[in-house]
C-alpha cells in the first residue's frame, strides 16, 4: 500500500502526540511545539485521509466543567499502522512525547 500522506516532521510529531494521549488541537500545539498555524491544517488533512478520526467529547464532562464540548482526535487503525513508520523515520521523537497529557 502506498503511503496516504507525506511523512514530514510536523506530521510525524502530530501523529505521535495523538498516540501518546494529546488529543485536542491546543494540547497538540503545546505538546509538539509546532507553530500554532500549522497544527490544524495537518489535523484536517490526516482526518480526510482516514488516519485520524475526530470525535466530540462526552457531553456530561463538558457540562460538569461548564464549557462547550471539545473535539478530540484519535488514531484510526490505519493511523495505528502508520506509527511504526513514524518511529522508524523519526526514532528520537517518542522521547519528546514521553510525558503524560496535559503536563507539557
Amino acid at each position: 500500500m502506498g503511503r496516504l500522506f507525506s511523512l514530514t516532521y510536523p506530521t510525524a510529531a502530530v501523529l505521535l502526540a495523538v498516540q501518546s494521549g494529546h488529543r485536542y488541537g491546543f494540547d497538540i500545539m503545546d505538546a509538539t511545539g509546532l507553530p500554532d498555524g500549522t497544527v490544524y491544517p495537518i489535523l484536517r488533512r490526516l482526518e480526510r485521509r482516514g488516519v485520524l478520526e475526530g470525535q466530540w467529547e462526552d457531553e456530561a464532562q463538558a457540562r460538569r466543567e461548564q464549557r462547550p464540548q471539545r473535539r478530540y482526535y484519535a488514531l484510526t487503525p490505519v493511523g495505528e499502522e502508520s506509527i511504526a513508520e513514524v518511529l522508524e523515520r523519526f526514532p528520537t521523537l517518542p522521547r519528546i512525547f514521553g510525558a503524560e497529557p496535559g503536563t507539557a
Binding site: F26, D36, P41, R44, E65, R67, P68
Partner: protein
C-alpha cells in the same frame, strides 16, 4: 464570565469555511478557546502576556479556515467544472465530434510515430547492462573503407585489451541444412564462444558454447533459435543431443535460445561456433562483426584510445604478417560505438524527422480546436459573465475554460491511443523489414506517458486561446446584454485569422516535405540503375565443399545448369555472378594493375570484385559500352580476360580506352588478365550510393583440368514473360543435377529493386499521410473561419445586397478573404519550408531540398484548396436574402 478572547475572530473566520463544514468548525475552535481561557482564569487573573498568547493562537484559526476553503473549493469546484464541461460538450455534439476527431488524429499519429521512435531509438537493448555493450569496427582511408573486424584483431584484443572485459565476433552465413524434409537454405550466425557471454544471454533449454567448441578440432555443435526449434523440431526439448546436418557436417544440438533473443539479426535460424586459432588468426580477414563488453570503469574513449595504441603496435604482434603494411597504409582506425547506435544506424534521422513532422500535425490540430473553442467562448460569454457576477474570480473563469479543454484532450487522447494502435499494426506490414528491433515495438508505459503528456500539453495550448480573448470586461458584457461587443469580435477575428495562417503555413511545410520525398522516390524509380530488372529472376545456389569436393565437378555443375536453362523456351538468357546488383556481398579487394605498379607495402588499386559467367551481362541487362562481354572459355589458361565497369575505366584511364590493359588479383605469381570489355555502372550496394569501381572476372579461372570455380552464386535468368514462372523450371533443373543442393531466395529482380527503395517509400508514405492530414485540417480550419465570418456578417451582407451588390461580388468578396489568409499562410510557410530544408536534405535523393518546382506546386495546391474551402461559405453568403438578414437581429 468575561467574553472569551478571540471569540469574534473565530466567528468572522468561520464565514470563509464552506457552509457544510462551517458549524462544526466554529464549534471546535470556540470550544478550544473556551477551554484554554478557563484554564487561564482558574489560576487567578491571567497576565496580559498570557492573554495575548491565547489571542495569537486563536488568530491562527484564519489559517485553518483558509485551508479548509481552498481544499473544499478545489476538490468540489474542479469536479463540478469537469462535470459541467462534459455536459455542455454533450450538448454540442458536432463541435465535440469535430474537436475530438481532430485531436485523436493529431495525438494518434504522434503516439504511433513515438511508438516507433521509442521502440527503435529510446528503449534500452534487451541484454544485461546494455550500456556496457559496444560495437567494434574499423575504418580505413579516413572512413572510406569499412573493415569491420578480423579474427587476428579479435585474438589480439582478447589477449591485450584491459578496457574490454570480453569481446566476440559474429558473421552471418548461409548454409545448407539437409535431412528430414526438403533441403533448406538457412541463414546462420557463426559466433565465437564468447558471444552469448558478452551479451549476457542464456539458453532457454540446454547451454550455449564452451571455449573448447571454438578451438580447431573442437566438438561440432549448434545452438538453435526458438523459431527453428518450433518449426523443424515441433518444440521438442528432446532435440538436445540430436544431430543436424549442416553443409554436410553432422552437428550436435546443445541448446535452444529463447524467442526474445535474436542478435544481431533476427533472420539467423541457428548459431554455430566460430573456430579461431589464436596462433594463426589472419589479421586482415575482415568481414566479421564485433561486439564487446566494456570492463568496469571503462568508457568508449578509453576503449578507443587503447585499441588505437594496440593498432599502432601491430608490427610487434604480427611480425610475419604482410597485412600490417597494408593496414598502416590505409590508416586502420577503430570505430567504437555503443551497440545500440550501431544497430539503429542511419534510421534515427528519418525517425526524428518523422516525429517532428507529426508534431506539426498536432500543432495544426491544436490550432483547429483552438479555433473551435474561440467560437464556443463567444457563445459562453453570458454564462461566464454570470459566473463573474456571482463572485467567481479570475481563477474560476480560467478553470471553467480549461476544464472543457481538458475533457476534450482526455477523450482525444484515448481516441489517439486507438488510432495509434491501429496505425502501428497497419504500419508493421509497411515498414521495411531491415528496420532494427521491429519486434520490440509496442505501446508500453513510456508511450502511454508520452500520450498523456501531449494530450495535456495540447489542452493547455488550445485552451489558452479562448482565454486570450475573454480576458476583457465580462461583467460589462453581461450588462450590454450579450456577447456581441464589437471590440471583442475584432480581437477574435485577428486571433482566428492568425491561427488559420499558422495552420496553412505548417501544412505547407509538411506538403513541401512530402513533395520532396515523392520526388526522391520518383528519382529513385526512374534512375538508371545500370541494369534492367524487368523480366529477370535471381536465386542463390551454393555448393558446399562437403557436398561436392571436386572443383571440376562444381564448374561442370554450373556449366550444365546454364546450358539446360538456355535451352528452355521461356529463357532468353541466363548467367550467374558472385553477387547480383543490390544483392549484397560484393567484396572490396586489392588489385595489381600493370599500368600502376604499387611499391612494396603500398596499396595497389582497390575495387569491388565480381566473378561472373558468360551470359550474365545479357541476363541482367548490363550493357557493354566498349569491347565485348565474356564468352565461354574466358578465364581458362591462355585466355585470361577481365571486364571493368565504366567508373573503374574512367578513374584509371580517363579519356583513354581501358581495352587491352592488364591486371590481376594482386598475387605476383598470377598471370595478367587482359581487359576485353567495359560495361555500364550497375548499382551493387544501393541505389542511392554512387556505383563503386568494379572489376568482373570470369567465373571459372585456371587450367582446364583444375579450374577454380565460384561455389556460391546468384543465378540471373531473363525471360520475356513473368520471371516468377521460371522458379519451378530452375528448381527442376537443379534437382535433376543434384537433389541435395537447394535453390534459395528466388526473387524477381523488380522485387529486389523495390526493397531497395523501401525506406524512401516508407518515409514518403508516412510524410504523405501526415501532410494529407495536415491539409485536411487546414481545409477545416479555413472553412470554419470563413463560415463564421459569413455568419457574423450576415447583416452587413444583407445591407450590401439591398444596396445593389450582386451575388457574384459578394462571393468574390468572401473568397478573397479566404485567399488573403491562404496567401499569408503560403508566404510564412515558404519561409518555414526553406528554413527546414536543411533538416530534410539528408534523406533526399536526386532532388535538392529547395527544389523550386515542389515549392511552386505545393503553394499553388494550397491556394486552390483554400479557395475551394472558402467557396462553400461564399455561396451561402451570396444566397443571403436581404430582407431576412436585416430582420433577424
Amino acid at each position: 464570565m468575561t467574553e472569551i478572547p478571540g471569540h469574534r475572530l473565530i466567528a468572522s473566520a468561520a464565514r470563509l469555511v464552506p457552509p457544510p463544514r462551517r458549524t462544526e468548525w466554529q464549534r471546535e475552535w470556540e470550544a478550544e478557546a473556551a477551554y484554554a481561557w478557563q484554564r487561564l482564569v482558574r489560576e487567578g487573573t491571567p497576565s496580559s502576556l498570557a492573554v495575548l498568547r491565547l489571542r495569537v493562537r486563536v488568530l491562527t484559526c484564519w489559517i485553518d479556515a483558509l485551508w479548509e476553503r481552498k481544499q473544499t473549493m478545489t476538490m468540489m469546484g474542479m469536479w463540478a467544472d469537469l462535470r459541467f464541461a462534459a455536459r455542455s460538450l454533450l450538448r454540442y455534439p458536432t463541435f465535440t465530434t469535430v474537436a475530438v476527431v481532430t485531436l485523436a488524429l493529431g495525438i494518434g499519429v504522434n503516439t504511433a510515430v513515438f511508438t516507433l521512435v521509442d521502440g527503435v531509438l529510446i528503449s534500452p537493448l534487451p541484454y544485461d547492462e546494455p550500456e556496457e555493450l559496444l560495437s567494434l569496427e574499423h575504418l580505413g582511408r579516413d572512413g572510406r573503407d569499412e573493415l569491420p573486424m578480423s579474427t587476428g584483431l579479435y585474438a589480439l584484443y582478447q589477449e591485450q585489451s584491459r578496457s574490454i572485459e570480453e569481446l566476440a565476433l559474429h558473421s552471418m552465413q548461409a548454409v545448407n541444412l539437409v535431412g528430414g524434409g526438403d533441403p533448406e537454405r538457412i541463414l546462420v550466425q557463426v559466433v565465437t564462444p564468447t558471444f552469448f557471454q558478452v551479451l549476457g544471454a542464456q539458453a532457454a533449454v540446454g547451454r550455449t558454447f564452451s571455449e573448447a567448441e571454438g578451438l580447431p578440432d573442437g566438438p561440432r555443435v549448434a545452438v538453435l533459435s526458438d523459431g527453428m526449434w518450433r518449426e523443424r523440431f515441433d518444440a521438442d526439448p528432446g532435440v538436445i543431443g540430436q544431430t543436424v546436418d549442416i553443409n554436410g557436417v553432422l552437428r550436435e544440438v546443445i541448446g535452444i535460445m529463447p524467442a526474445s533473443f535474436g542478435y544481431p539479426d533476427r533472420r539467423a535460424r541457428l548459431w554455430l561456433p566460430m573456430v579461431v586459432d589464436p596462433n594463426q588468426a589472419p589479421l586482415a580477414a575482415f568481414g566479421m562483426g564485433g561486439v564487446a563488453r566494456m570492463a568496469e570503469g571503462s568508457t568508449i574513449e578509453t576503449v578507443d584510445g587503447e585499441l588505437r595504441g594496440l593498432i599502432g603496435r601491430l608490427d610487434e604482434f604480427f611480425p610475419e604478417s604482410g597485412a600490417v603494411a597494408f593496414l598502416t597504409q590505409v590508416g586502420l582506425a577503430p570505430r567504437v560505438r555503443p551497440l545500440k547506435e550501431s544497430l539503429v544506424g542511419e534510421l534515427d534521422r528519418t525517425l526524428w524527422i518523422l516525429l517532428g513532422t507529426v508534431g506539426f500535425v498536432l500543432l495544426i490540430a491544436c490550432a483547429n480546436v483552438a479555433n473551435l473553442l474561440i467560437v464556443r467562448a463567444e457563445s459562453r460569454q453570458r454564462e461566464l459573465a454570470l459566473r463573474v457576477a456571482v463572485g467567481a474570480g479570475r481563477a474560476d473563469v480560467v478553470r471553467a475554460f480549461m476544464s472543457e479543454s481538458f475533457v476534450l484532450a482526455v477523450i482525444g487522447g484515448v481516441g489517439g491511443l486507438l488510432v495509434a494502435a491501429g496505425a502501428v499494426r497497419l504500419s508493421m506490414d509497411l515498414v521495411p523489414t531491415n528496420i532494427p528491433r521491429l519486434d520490440e515495438i509496442g505501446i508500453d508505459a513510456r508511450v502511454l506517458t508520452f500520450t498523456g503528456a501531449i494530450s495535456i500539453g495540447s489542452a493547455l495550448l488550445f485552451g489558452l486561446f479562448p482565454l486570450l480573448r475573454s480576458s476583457g470586461d465580462l461583467a460589462g458584457q453581461l450588462r450590454d446584454g450579450g456577447g456581441r461587443g464589437q471590440t471583442g469580435s475584432k480581437q477574435t477575428h485577428r486571433l482566428r485569422n492568425g491561427l488559420v495562417v499558422t495552420q496553412m503555413a505548417l501544412a505547407l511545410v509538411l506538403l513541401v516535405g512530402s513533395g520532396l520525398m515523392l520526388r526522391s522516390f520518383q528519382a529513385m524509380r526512374t534512375m538508371d540503375p545500370g541494369f534492367d530488372a524487368e523480366g529477370v529472376l535471381t536465386a542463390r545456389i551454393t555448393i558446399p565443399n562437403a557436398e561436392v569436393q571436386d572443383n571440376g565437378e562444381v564448374a561442370s555443375f554450373f556449366r550444365t545448369l546454364l546450358q539446360q536453362l538456355d535451352e528452355h523456351p521461356l529463357v532468353a538468357s541466363a548467367g550467374f555472378a558472385q553477387s547480383v546488383p543490390l544483392g549484397g556481398g560484393v567484396g572490396y579487394h586489392n588489385l595489381a594493375v600493370e599500368d600502376f605498379p604499387a611499391g612494396n607495402g603500398e596499396i595497389g588499386v582497390l575495387a569491388s570484385n565480381n566473378q561472373i559467367s558468360a551470359g550474365y551481362f545479357e541476363a541482367m541487362g548490363i550493357d557493354v559500352v566498349e569491347g565485348r562481354s565474356f564468352e565461354p572459355g574466358d578465364g581458362a589458361d591462355g585466355v585470361r580476360a577481365a571486364i571493368v565497369n565504366a567508373a573503374f575505366a574512367e578513374r584509371w584511364w580517363p579519356g583513354e580506352s581501358a581495352l587491352g590493359r592488364r591486371m590481376n588479383r594482386d598475387s605476383p605469381q598470377e598471370e595478367w588478365f587482359e581487359v576485353v570489355g567495359v560495361v555500364e555502372n550497375a548499382h551493387y550496394q544501393s541505389l542511392e550510393a554512387t556505383p563503386e569501381h568494379m572489376v568482373y572476372w570470369p567465373a571459372t579461372v585456371g587450367p582446364a583440368d583444375t579450374p577454380l570455380p565460384a561455389r556460391s552464386v546468384d543465378v540471373a535468368i531473363r525471360t520475356t514473360g513473368d520471371p516468377t514462372a521460371l522458379i519451378p523450371i530452375l528448381r527442376g533443373a537443379v534437382a535433376e543435377l543434384n537433389a541435395r543442393i537447394p535453390v534459395s531466395n528466388p526473387r524477381a529482380m523488380t522485387e529486389v529493386v523495390s526493397d531497395a527503395t523501401a525506406r524512401t517509400a516508407f518515409t514518403m508514405v508516412l510524410l504523405g499521410a501526415a501532410s494529407g492530414v495536415a491539409l485536411l485540417l487546414g481545409i477545416v480550419g479555413i472553412y470554419g473561419v470563413i463560415s463564421y465570418i459569413v455568419a457574423q456578417r450576415t447583416r452587413e451582407i444583407g445591407v450590401r445586397m439591398a444596396l445593389g451588390a450582386t451575388a457574384s461580388s459578394v462571393r468574390s468578396m468572401v473568397v478573397r478573404h479566404g485567399l488573403v489568409l491562404a496567401a499569408w499562410g503560403v508566404v510564412v510557410g515558404l519561409a518555414g519550408a526553406v528554413a527546414m530544408s536543411r533538416v530534410i536534405a539528408s534523406i533526399l535523393f536526386g532532388v535538392t531540398a529547395t527544389d523550386p518546382w515542389t515549392y511552386v506546386v505545393v503553394a499553388a495546391l494550397l491556394t486552390v484548396v483554400a479557395a475551394g474551402a472558402s467557396w462553400l461559405p461564399a455561396r451561402r453568403a451570396a444566397g443571403v436574402d436581404p430582407s431576412n438578414a436585416l430582420r433577424s437581429d
